[in-house]
């Protein structure tokens, strides 16, 4: 039976939440109105509890992370997305940078003593690079580490390549696959609804085009992620609409592994007057994502976007995946993120364990690489000290 209703929900909460919980218990899919009601519900803790139930049903107490590395080989971009501090950046502008291939490859070479298992590359839309640049980039990484998983280029970039190099999506993706591409990251989704998309990201791939790229990728056997940028000018209705479109696409082609809500950050971009979402909004959005996206296995809390502290609580509000070690994050930090730029594996394991979950290092396909010990007792609990041995019975081994 799907997700038993947590007992606390029975204490005087609104009818809506109970009926939604009942729907889920019967394996019924939630509707657009359900999603909006969940976003609007004043008791966001109860919504979180419901999402936590669902998360537990699917993943027990596992919290996934992986050892990845993020790279941006170019931030030159012809698009003018309002939320991006790299918008309309031209080659030669201050701050504009395009890596030479050797530079990019060196990022992996210098880490071969403790290499990442996955390389995640998203870039600006550069008008002047040859397609072969990207092919060589991928081949070079595979040469250095043949089993590294390359999760590169958003659907927006793929669409851009198709237009720029006059190929179909299938051609672009097949060629890149031949060069070593394994998966697509989820970026570029922003908000699908045209009311919002035309105002914040008018000159890049449309929602249909974005989803089409993922459709083709899935049919070619590639797994991908997908995202949603929230907390700017969109409404709850736009968010739910976005989730439903993801759900619909997943029903069709089935290749999305994780859904990643990304909090909008206001500094240094065209929307810097907006306050951005807060901790409660972050938790609420994760919770609603988990409840709405019944056909997507994983909900990821990206700690760079929401801070490691909120990410710990996020694991209890629907997220089962905490994005990995990252090493040197730049995109969010240009937009004002104050999170540290890299978390080591030990720090991530500790963070997850302190939150009361089982840290699981995964591979790019959610296979288990290593299960770490969970905390012996519920988070925050420590047995009384063994004074004779004068040793603090540490929860963290």
């Amino acid at each position: 039976m799907a997700g038993a209703c947590p007992p606390n929900l029975r204490r005087g909460h609104m009818q809506t939440l109970e009926s939604i919980a009942a729907k889920m218990a019967h394996g019924e899919r939630l509707s657009f109105d359900d999603g909006v009601a969940l976003f609007r519900h004043p008791d966001w803790v109860a919504v979180g509890q419901l999402a936590h139930s669902e998360r537990t049903r699917r993943h027990e107490d596992r919290a996934y992370f992986n050892r990845n590395m993020r790279l941006e080989v170019t931030n030159v971009c012809v698009a003018s997305c309002l939320f991006c501090s790299f918008a309309k950046l031209k080659e030669g502008d201050p701050g504009a940078h395009t890596m030479r291939l050797e530079e990019a490859w060196r990022e992996l070479e210098t880490r071969m003593d403790d290499p990442p298992s996955e390389i995640h590359i998203v870039n600006g839309l550069h008008p002047d690079l040859p397609f072969s640049y990207y092919e060589k980039l991928l081949r070079g990484f595979k040469r250095i580490k043949p089993d590294v998983v390359l999760k590169c280029f958003t659907a927006v970039e793929i669409h851009f390549f198709a237009e720029l190099y006059k190929m179909t999506y299938e051609e672009v993706l097949s060629k890149l696959r031949a060069a070593g591409l394994d998966c697509l990251p989820g970026g570029g989704a922003e908000i699908f609804h045209p009311e919002v998309r035309t105002r914040i990201a008018n000159d890049k791939a449309t929602a249909d085009q974005y989803l089409e790229v993922h459709d083709v990728a899935h049919r070619l056997g590639m797994k991908t992620n997908t995202t949603m940028l929230y907390g700017h000018i969109e409404t709850f209705e736009h968010r739910v609409d976005h989730m439903l479109r993801v759900r619909e696409q997943q029903d069709k082609s089935g290749g999305f592994q994780a859904f990643i809500p990304l909090a909008f950050h206001p500094d240094g971009n065209g929307m810097k007057n907006l306050p951005g979402p807060t901790g409660v909004d972050d938790l609420r959005t994760l919770a609603v994502s988990r409840l709405m996206l019944d056909n997507v296995d994983h909900i990821k809390a990206y700690w760079v976007s929401s801070t490691p502290k909120v990410a710990q609580i996020a694991l209890r509000f629907g997220a089962d995946d905490v994005d990995g070690t990252i090493v040197h994050e730049t995109i969010y930090h240009a937009a004002g993120s104050t999170s540290p730029q890299g978390l080591t594996r030990d720090m991530l394991v500790r963070m997850i364990r302190e939150a009361g979950f089982l840290p699981v290092e995964r591979d790019s396909y959610y296979g288990i690489v290593h299960e770490f010990a969970r905390a012996a007792l519920p988070e925050g609990a420590v047995k009384v000290r063994d004074r004779k041995a004068n040793k603090h019975l540490e929860v963290i081994s």
Binding site: P6, P7, N8, R11, P42, D43, W44, V45, G48, Q49, H52, P275, T278, G279, V280, D281, D282, L283, S306, T307, K309, V310, Q312, I313, R316, M351, E354, A355, G356, L377, P378, E379, G380, A381, V382, K383, V384, R385, R387, K388, H392, V395
Partner: protein, 643 residues
């Protein structure tokens, strides 16, 4: 079983392997304790004689294996098991627990409570609730030699040897033992040998204690004569007291009386609802269900230390959070979260204490040491006034070059020139000044209050368990000293906050004990406004490893505090250390206050954390969490309309 817990308390003070016992030095305890100082018992036991509250503390903090523990303290801890057959009680008049006054009790407005025994204070309150339609005001007091001086509106609860001399000095005397017996027909047990549940008291030790009592009872005449040598009590009175008033039994009738006392105390919200168990009884197979405990917590019932431990270690974060949220709703049904516009100013970073968790301080003579000048201070204060602020939170290191007069001048100058509340110093700083000047705490506080001090911030508490304090802040005042300053301040009419910094070497049990000590003091004085906690911020410049920290733990600790501190009006979210996102989330985990706007923060941020946000951002956060915001002052009066 034998080896399991012996290590816990045989080591301290009695490295020779003797069992450490804690007792009191009152006359009525002597038949129980005196024989233990001699052969053959002296080979087995090491006795510490302290005041009753200290007995409870020693047992709670594993400094004594068994203590002659006041029963109210046993109820508060929740996991005490008693040694059968030995107690200090009365069946009828006790003669040493008296409510005295110059006028009949129904004309009394204030009752002074002798602070040396919570048990008698609770009994007094239960009896007075029965005897009068309205509650009097209760005030904690330590009496001068010769006993209390009372006017026509005040009664006093006097306990122990001093009470034996008072019977004839006041026209109206209520013997609480007699009053209890008339009410219930049962004896009243004041204290008994008790140990923590996890301490295994061997049957040989239990037998020895009972044998020793038998010896002591046979010596009562000698004890009375010895006591009479002090000159204040005569031997006949003392002997009659020991033989007619005090009963040394602890059997079924005493147990029933004790259970009834705990029940009535729980109904009045003064004691947790605790069962009475003996050390030689088997423990029940299962504990009461956690859900029941959570429900009781949500209803605002007073919990014992062991119940709080269960919540902390067994309940999920959501469950504890929901219970704390319910408590918050009952205390603050208006759905309002308060915050204050003030400024934290550190007037000096020169400090003689060198706590290991602090990266802010500089030793005397260090080139980076400073004392803020009047100009700098004035500029900061003006900024607060201009921003619509209502108070200044003034704290600093313990600077040996700043005498009391410096503070008095400063406070007078601040009050003369700026319309701001002065929320200043901390118990540590007060003690420091007191030692520096050789003046008692009362005088220091009175002079500072006269010069303009309005309230005392609750900082420097860290963990109110000395074992922890010795490791992380050896040179700081002890837990008792911190509590004493607050007691004196509250009695003087000054309000204060209370804090807890966890996450160094403390355990969950230490944190629960910390909360219980705050709760007990609040019962006495009612002077605490709010409680804040945070975890140790371990970054560069600190000199101790972090223990348990993390966001889940923070929310759990805050929720636990809201549940345990049933007599505190307010619990605040520490967004300064946790970040405003967590601060916002914390509002549904028991917090009803968002602390203060930060213009600057130095102490904690020297260790690495810096969050600065303004009033508009705070209000946005409060609303995002689903509440309305209100600006407050230090007394939690509302200064604006909820919005």
């Amino acid at each position: 079983m034998k080896g399991k817990n012996q290590h816990a308390v045989r080591s301290r003070g009695a490295s020779d392997g003797r069992l450490v016992l804690a007792g009191v030095s009152y006359l009525n305890s002597r038949p129980i304790l005196d024989p233990l100082d001699r052969a053959p018992y002296a080979d087995r036991f090491s006795i510490e004689r302290v005041v009753p509250s200290e007995v409870a503390r020693m047992v709670a903090e594993d400094e004594a294996a068994v203590g002659l523990i006041p029963v109210a303290a046993a109820a508060t801890l929740g996991d005490i098991r008693f040694v059968r057959g030995i107690g200090i009680g009365a069946r009828g008049p006790v003669r040493s627990v008296l409510l005295v006054s110059n006028v009949p009790l129904d004309r009394i407005e204030t009752v002074e409570l002798d602070l040396s025994s919570r048990t008698s204070a609770v009994l007094a309150r239960l009896l007075l609730a029965r005897l009068r339609p309205s509650e009097p005001r209760y005030v904690g007091r330590t009496y001068p030699a010769g006993g209390p001086r009372l006017d026509d509106k005040t009664a006093a609860l006097v306990i122990g040897d001093p009470a034996l001399l008072l019977e004839s000095q006041f026209p109206h005397v209520l013997d609480l033992g007699q009053a209890w017996f008339e009410w219930t027909g049962l004896p009243f047990l004041f204290a008994a040998w008790g140990a923590r549940k996890r301490t295994h008291v061997m049957s040989g030790d239990q037998t020895s204690l009972r044998e020793a009592l038998a010896v002591g009872l046979s010596e009562r005449r000698a004890i009375a004569q010895d006591r009479a040598r002090a000159g204040d009590i005569d031997a006949v009175t003392a002997h009659a007291y020991l033989t007619e008033a005090i009963r040394y039994e602890f059997g079924d009738e005493e147990r029933r009386g004790l259970e009834l006392f705990f029940e009535k105390g729980a109904s009045a919200g003064l004691l947790p609802k605790t069962a009475v168990r003996f050390v030689d009884e088997p423990e029940p197979a299962t504990l009461p269900p956690l859900d029941t405990l959570l429900e009781r917590a949500a209803q605002g019932e007073r919990l014992s230390g062991s119940e709080a431990m269960r919540l902390a270690t067994e309940a999920s974060l959501f469950d504890v959070g929901v219970a704390a949220d319910e408590v918050r709703k009952k205390k603050h049904p208006s759905g309002v979260v308060t915050y204050i516009v003030d400024r934290n100013v550190n007037y000096t970073n020169v400090c003689t204490t060198s706590c290991r968790f602090c990266a802010f301080y500089r030793p005397v003579g260090h080139p980076e040491g400073y004392v803020l000048s009047r100009e700098e201070l004035g500029r900061k204060l003006q900024e607060v006034v201009d921003a619509g602020g209502v108070q200044i939170l003034l704290q600093g290191g313990l600077n040996p070059d700043l005498p009391l007069a410096w503070y008095e001048d400063l406070f007078r100058w601040m009050k003369a020139n700026y319309r701001l509340g002065l929320h200043a110093l901390s118990p540590e700083e007060i003690w420091h000044i007191s030692r520096l000047e050789g003046l008692p705490i009362e005088i220091v506080l009175a002079r500072l209050h006269a010069a303009g001090l309005d309230s005392v911030p609750g900082g420097g508490a860290e963990i109110l368990v000395d074992r922890v304090r010795r490791r992380i802040a050896k040179a700081k005042c002890t837990s008792d000293m911190w509590l004493e300053v607050m007691r004196v301040a509250h009695q003087m009419g000054l309000r204060s906050s209370a804090t807890m910094m966890y996450g160094t070497v403390d355990t969950i049990e230490d944190r629960v004990l910390h909360l219980l000590k705050l709760r007990d003091l609040q019962d006495e004085t009612g002077g605490f406004t709010a409680f804040f906690c945070w975890d140790f911020q371990h970054e560069q410049g600190t000199r101790i490893q972090a223990g348990e920290t993390g966001t889940s733990l923070y929310l759990r600790m805050q929720a636990l505090a809201r549940i345990v501190l049933d007599n505190f009006d307010h619990v605040g979210a520490s967004w300064v250390t946790q970040g405003p996102d967590i601060g916002e989330i914390a509002l549904r985990f028991g917090a009803d206050d968002f602390g203060s706007v930060m213009f600057e923060e130095n102490v904690v941020s020297s260790a690495g954390t810096t969050y600065c946000i303004d009033a508009a951002a705070i209000e946005g956060r409060i609303r995002a969490a689903g509440f309305r915001s209100v600006r407050r002052n230090v007394r939690y009066d509302w200064l604006t309309e909820p919005a």
